[in-house]
Structures are given as C-alpha cells and as structure tokens.
C-alpha cells in the first residue's frame, strides 16, 4: 500500500503535464481546423460555386449538316430569306458611314483622325476638354469637357475672334461684363486662322498654346496645330460629320 501510494504520487505530476500537453495540442489542432474551415467556406462561396456553375455539361454538340434537310423546300426558303435579310442589313449598316470626309476625335488620348472616302488621310495630336469643374462661391459651375457622340459641322470661319463667355472671366477673377456684345469679351488671334463650329459653342480651332497639344487642357473645344487645322478646314464642309469619343 505504502509502495503503491508513493508510486501514484510520483506519477501524478507527469500525468498532469502530459494531459496539459495533449489538451494544448488539441486546442491548437481545433484552432487550425477552425481557421482552415473558415478559409474553405470563403473559397467555397466565392470561387468554387461560381466555377461549378461555369463548367459546361457533357452535352453532345447537335450541329449537323444533313443533306436531307437541304432538299427540303422550306429550308431553301429560310436560307434565301436569311441571305436577303443579311444583305439588306449590311447595306443599311454601311450606308451610315459617310463616303465624304469626316473627322474622328479621341478625347482620352487627345488624337484626331481625318478620313476621306472611308480612308484615313491624316492623323495627329489635338487638345480636348480638361474635365475641370469651375465653381463659384455663389453656386455657379461649369464643367470643361468635350462632348462625345456624333456632331455636324454647323459653320466655318476664317480669322475667328473669340467672344469670351462668362466662365472665362470667372476663371481669372475678373468682373463679368453685363452685355454679351461688350467689346471686352472679344479677343483676336487666339483661335488660330480657322474655326469650325460644332454647335452649343463648341469649336474646332487653332491655338497659341501648341506645347499643350496632346493634353486635356481645353474648356471643351478641340484645339489643333496650324497645319492640321488648315487641312481639316479644307477637307470638311458644312454638314460634314465629326465623331468624338
């Protein structure tokens, strides 16, 4: 009995240590398992399920080329109808592209492309809207962006004068003239030799700030260098199309 008691007492601390050790190990393992489960669930919902939805089924491709069907008069009629529709649609679609000269302007890269008879005849740099929003304390605001879409040349002018709009005064902290035809509003020689009107006050014109060509710096107009402007002025007539994107 005495011997047994001594042995038990001697063993107890070791057992406890082992038990504590295995308890800690179990906790660690449970922790790792929990973390892995969470990661698995995340991947399951975010990646596995969408991937499973995308896996194509083992469906047999049914596309045929049956000679029997081709002899069917109904089939021939359907094919003829389709061919007719395609021709009609193709004609309609290509009729949209003008055979005359037209201008394409890329406002993201500030580039222009001049086409004649659907062929590119000139390309180069231009400057388009700066995407600045000018705000006054009184709550007035202007966004300086070049509009996108299809436009028509509405007017052509040589040696244009710039009639400065209100924002041109606001931007420089100058008082705005009350009258639209006030001589203070007129500035000469800043738009180059030519201007082509796109409507709503937007122009294609020259510039004295040639070092900014290729950059988005304008108040919405399209600026070009002198040679390009002259080529475009001579190529486009009133009614010509300008595509801005």
């Amino acid at each position: 009995m005495e011997e047994e008691l001594i042995t038990n007492e001697e063993l107890k601390p070791q057992d406890n240590t082992r038990k504590e050790g295995s308890g800690l190990l179990r906790k660690v393992l449970i922790g790792i398992a929990a973390v892995l489960s969470v990661i698995f669930l995340f991947i399951f919902f975010i990646y596995i399920i969408p991937a499973l939805q995308t896996i194509p089924g083992k469906e047999k491709n049914l596309i045929t080329n049956s000679p029997l069907l081709k002899k069917d008069p109904g089939y021939k009629k359907h094919i003829a109808l389709l061919n007719r529709d395609i021709q009609r649609l193709s004609r309609k679609y290509s009729s949209y592209t003008s055979g005359q000269s037209y201008l394409v302007i890329n406002t993201t890269d500030n580039l222009f492309y001049l086409y004649r008879n659907k062929k590119l005849i000139r390309e180069g740099h231009c400057s388009t809207g700066s995407f600045k929003m000018l705000k006054t304390l009184e709550g007035r605001s202007w966004i300086f962006k070049t509009p996108k879409g299809k436009f028509t040349i509405q007017g052509k002018q040589t040696n244009p004068a710039w009639r400065r709009p209100d924002w041109a005064f606001v931007e420089e902290g100058l008082p705005i003239p009350a009258r639209q035809d006030d001589p203070v509003r007129y500035e000469y020689g800043v738009l180059g030799d030519y201007a082509l009107a796109l409507g709503d006050g937007y122009l294609i014109h020259g510039t004295i700030y040639k070092r900014f060509l290729g950059m988005p710096v304008t108040h919405g107009c399209v600026r070009l260098n002198d040679d390009d402007l002259e080529a475009i002025f001579n190529s486009l007539s009133i009614g010509s199309k300008v595509y801005i994107f």
């Binding site: 919902f45 939805q53 995308t54 596309i63 649609l89 995407f131």
Partner: protein, 266 residues
C-alpha cells in the same frame, strides 16, 4: 474527475459532429440551389428565344441545328443588333468573340478597334442549342451598372478666384499618372461583362486586379446567399470575361455612355 472529463470529451465530440453535419447539409443545399440557377436561366432564355415555326413557311425543327443556317442566323443577329445601336447616334461596342476583336462605333462608323487577348464565357454561350443564343444576341445589351477602377469622368474641382490677385494659371496635367484599368458592366438582361487590362505594367497590378475581382465576387456571393437562405434559387448572371490592352480598355470605358450598348457575335 475523470468521468467528468470523459463526459466533456464526449459532449465536445458530439457538438463537433453535429456542427460538421449541419455545415455539410448547408453546403450541399447551397450547392444544389446554386447549380439550379444556370439551368433555370437557360430554360427561361430558351422559352423566350427558341425557334418558332412560321405557319406560312413550315420547316423541319432540325433546321436550328444546321450549320449553314446557324452561321447565317448568327450573322443576321449581329447585324440586327448593330443596326439597332447605330440608329441611336451614341457610342456603342461591337464585340466579336469569334474573331477576338472589339470595335467602338458611332452611327455605323468604327472609331476605335482592338484585339481581345483572352476570352472566357459562361456555359450558356456554349449551349448545344445555338439558335436561342443567337436570337438573344440579336438584341443589344444595355449597361445598367458600371463598376470600375477608374472614374468615368475624371473630374477635378477648381474654385473660382475672388479677384485677379487670387488667380493662378492651370497646372499642366500629369499625363504620366498611372492607374490600372479594370471594369465590370452589368447589363439589362442579367449578363455581366468583365473587362480587365491585359498587361501587368506595375508591381501592384496583379494584386489590384485580384482585390477588384474579389470585391465583386463577395458582393455577388452575398446576393446569392441571401436568396438561397430565403429558399429561392438565386439569379444566375451569364458572363463574358475579356482581357485587352490597358490603353484600349481605358478608351472604351471612358467613351461608352453610362448606359451604353453592346452587341456580341459568337
């Protein structure tokens, strides 16, 4: 003491088993519901766009599997969608998955074109019944929501000076400014277009794309979860995922109107 410990172990094990069973059942239920979503979508599209006999010109139903007929029908569908968009006078996109190219057009005039470097799409687009896919593609898709890594309009606000003394000329814009271009377009018919830049120009591009994609996936998974746990089959969104050069991706995203249109040929 020992009996208590054994009991605690048993209870713990039982709880673990119960939790595992519950999670497995939930995952199975979720998987089944999620897998039903594309099937349901295909069926609804087939119902809407399947072949209908013309009583004046009856033909064998197998015509919809004929390669010559399908090829012409596909071409007609693409032209129909593009012609409809050309009439709108605004910028639109024509995506030709067969030729791996995409063109930006206005009123039938191609203003920009680029090559698609990688394409992947939902299994719907590879269904054995190609007729209903082409019928569906004969209508242009309209963008309902844009999610992008760049702003549609990079607006900078400038306060007007009070007088000439406060006036400062504009600073030359920093054209070297770099931001990765990735965007997602959710369309009106439930299709989603993922447009990601092909190049990894900067160190952070890969991580940026991973996080951008992950954020969208989490949003989508959350919507599906809400639907599934309210015992409804979630809505499936067929997708077309493409990669293209960064510069072109930027042009396309900035040029397309907020609710722009897209025609697809495949």
């Amino acid at each position: 003491m020992e009996t208590n410990s054994v009991n605690r172990d048993k209870t713990g094990r039982n709880i673990l088993i119960a939790v595992s069973v519950i999670i497995t059942v939930v995952l199975l239920y979720y998987s089944v519901m999620a897998m039903m979503a594309p099937v349901r979508k295909i069926n609804s599209l087939k119902e809407e766009y399947s072949f209908r006999q013309d009583p004046k010109n009856v033909v064998s139903d197998s015509i919809v599997y004929d390669s010559a007929y399908l090829s012409l029908y596909r071409e007609k569908a693409y032209l129909t969608a593009r012609t409809a968009m050309a009439a709108t006078d605004s910028l639109y996109l024509s995506m030709n998955l067969a030729d791996s190219n995409v063109t930006l057009e206005i009123s039938g005039v191609t203003v920009a074109t680029t090559k698609l470097t990688r394409i992947s799409a939902s299994k719907i687009f590879y269904d054995r019944d190609q007729y209903f896919i082409s019928s569906m593609l004969s209508h242009p898709f309209t963008v309902e929501r844009n999610i992008a890594s760049i702003p549609k309009m990079p607006l900078m606000i400038k306060m007007a000076p009070k007088d000439t003394s406060e006036y400062q000329p504009d600073i030359i814009p920093d054209t070297a400014d770099y931001e990765p271009v990735n965007f997602i377009m959710e369309m009106d018919n439930g299709t989603t277009f993922y447009v990601y830049q092909e190049e990894k120009l900067n160190k952070g591009d890969r991580m940026h794309l991973f996080l951008f994609d992950l954020r969208y996936r989490i949003d989508e998974a959350w919507i599906s979860m809400k639907s599934i746990f309210s015992l409804k089959v979630p809505e499936y969104h067929p997708f077309i995922r493409v990669r293209l050069p960064r510069a072109d991706a930027k042009i396309i995203y900035r040029a397309l109107p907020e609710h722009g249109q897209i025609a697809v040929y495949r």
